[in-house]
């Protein structure tokens, strides 16, 4: 029994692979930005004294963290459909991924918020800053800075997990691979290429987050402290 790999037969489909990879990156980018916003709001909400808001945020976070992503995707997909609302697979995928990563982001950001020393907030209050100004100027960036590695790992994981969006025929990388392997009967080669492409996408995202970190945390850049 010998292994015979025929990469050229698969690689000639490179435009499809490329399109799939780009779509995966787009999915990840949208869900990361929206999920970061949603998660941060949920983390703030969970910390408020309003029992209704903090309870709602807790239910959201715990529900999402204790159900499979694929089930969440189906719930959004079929849920919207049964309400008579028609959206593209891409939109549904972004929505489901956002809801999913928002819950994990909320937990990570909550840890970041809790790591801000009480004295920082008192000093800001003593300077007459409003609550919103304190969140914006004093808490948010240092909180993100404290959890940045955990946060960015979560977003890379999200990109990898977006492969299950192939199940609702969003034309992302894994869905493309499924077509190609059924066309070419070269499944092993196809998924080797796809795996390599996912590694490249991960590296691209990590490089992006590294660059974003330089912009967000100028003190790190100035003092040369690695993140």
């Amino acid at each position: 029994m010998s292994l015979q790999l025929d990469f050229p037969a698969v690689l000639e489909r490179w435009p499809s692979f490329l399109a799939g990879a780009v779509l995966t990156l787009e999915l990840a980018a949208f869900a990361t930005v929206l999920g970061a916003l949603l998660g941060t709001l949920a983390a703030v909400g969970r910390g408020t004294h309003n029992a209704l808001i903090s309870g709602a945020c807790k239910v959201y976070v715990e529900t999402i963290r204790n159900t499979p992503l694929l089930v969440q995707i189906f719930l959004v997909y079929f849920g919207l459909a049964s309400l008579g609302l028609k959206f593209s697979a891409f939109t549904v995928a972004v929505a489901a991924l956002t809801i999913n990563v928002g819950a994990y982001t909320a937990e990570i950001m909550r840890a970041g918020f809790e790591a801000i020393p009480r004295g920082q907030i008192e000093a800001a209050e003593g300077l007459a800053l409003s609550r919103l100004q304190i969140y914006w100027h004093i808490i948010l960036l240092p909180a993100i800075e404290k959890v940045y590695p955990a946060l960015t790992s979560q977003f890379v994981l999200l990109m990898l997990a977006s492969s299950v969006c192939s199940q609702i025929s969003a034309e992302e990388l894994t869905a493309v691979a499924n077509y190609i392997q059924s066309d070419t009967y070269r499944a092993f080669e196809t998924y080797i290429i796809v795996a390599v492409l996912y590694v490249i996408l991960s590296l691209v995202m990590r490089a992006g987050f590294w660059g974003l970190g330089l912009v967000l945390f100028p003190r790190r850049r100035r003092l040369g402290t690695p993140l």
Binding site: G119, Q120, E122, A123, E125, L127, A128, L129, R219
Partner: protein
């Protein structure tokens, strides 16, 4: 030891009560601070002096009594906290500079965000207040690049930039070694000479004696003895005698 705070007091506390759970921390505290006056709150740890100071800026809510600060009724639940805190500057033992901002940004943040100062004006202001504390060259440094004494001076400058009518100092030199303590005290002395109204909780008895117009000695949540700085050398109550006699008067 009760006084009737006069109406032109910058700060006045009358019969202030405060408990943490079953622990009565302030038990009928009254004192007043006039414009331009420097008042030193002294006493043992746990005597209530820091709590009394924090009540002035409403970092603690009082259970009873009356606090008036620059016309704000601080004891009332409807006090406008942001208006109060524009009139009152507070400096903490642990400096509490914002670590992610440069010294300049630390100073300009509140004048821009709260008072709506233009960026260029705020930067001029930052230079001015940093010169006051002798730190002009640290304008673009980050807090962690400064020594403890420099951080505390920067924190004082940050507070000054809001042009408060009264400044509160909560054991601002307790985390510093004697040399750094001296450089911070020098800045505070200069402020006093410039006529700033100040209330300070301090363990530096020599300093309190040199700078304070009035001493309030707190003991078990009450104002136990009060008077001019000379009470430190000739105390009338046995508690203050014991307190200043335990080596606290070394400067």
């Amino acid at each position: 030891m009760q006084q009737n705070p006069s109406s032109d007091s910058i700060v006045s506390l009358r019969d202030v009560q405060k408990s943490f759970g079953s622990l009565r921390v302030l038990d009928g505290v009254s004192f007043a601070v006039e414009r331009g006056e420097v008042l030193a709150l002294i006493g043992r740890s746990g005597s209530g002096k820091s709590t009394a100071l924090r009540c002035i800026d409403r970092f603690e809510k009082v259970d009873g009594g009356e606090i008036v600060v620059c016309g704000h009724r601080v004891d009332r639940p409807d006090v406008d906290l942001r208006a109060l805190r524009q009139d009152v500057g507070i400096v903490f033992q642990s400096y509490n500079l914002f670590p992610h901002l440069t010294i300049e940004q630390n100073i300009t943040l509140a004048p821009c965000a709260v008072k709506g100062l233009a960026n260029s004006q705020a930067k001029d202001l930052a230079r001015k207040v940093l010169a006051q504390v002798g730190l002009e060259e640290k304008l673009h440094a980050y807090p962690e690049q400064l020594s403890g004494g420099q951080q505390q001076r920067a924190a004082i400058a940050r507070s000054l930039a809001m042009q408060p009518k009264v400044m509160l100092f909560d054991e601002v030199t307790s985390a510093l070694d004697p040399e750094l303590t001296a450089e911070v005290l020098k800045v505070i002395e200069q402020l006093a000479a410039d006529g700033m109204t100040m209330v300070m909780v301090t363990h530096e008895m020599g300093f309190a004696k040199g700078i304070a117009d009035r001493i309030v000695f707190m003991h078990r949540g009450k104002v136990h003895e009060t008077g001019p700085a000379s009470i430190l050398t000739s105390p009338t109550t046995p508690e203050l005698t014991q307190f200043v006699g335990t080596g606290n008067l070394k400067s």
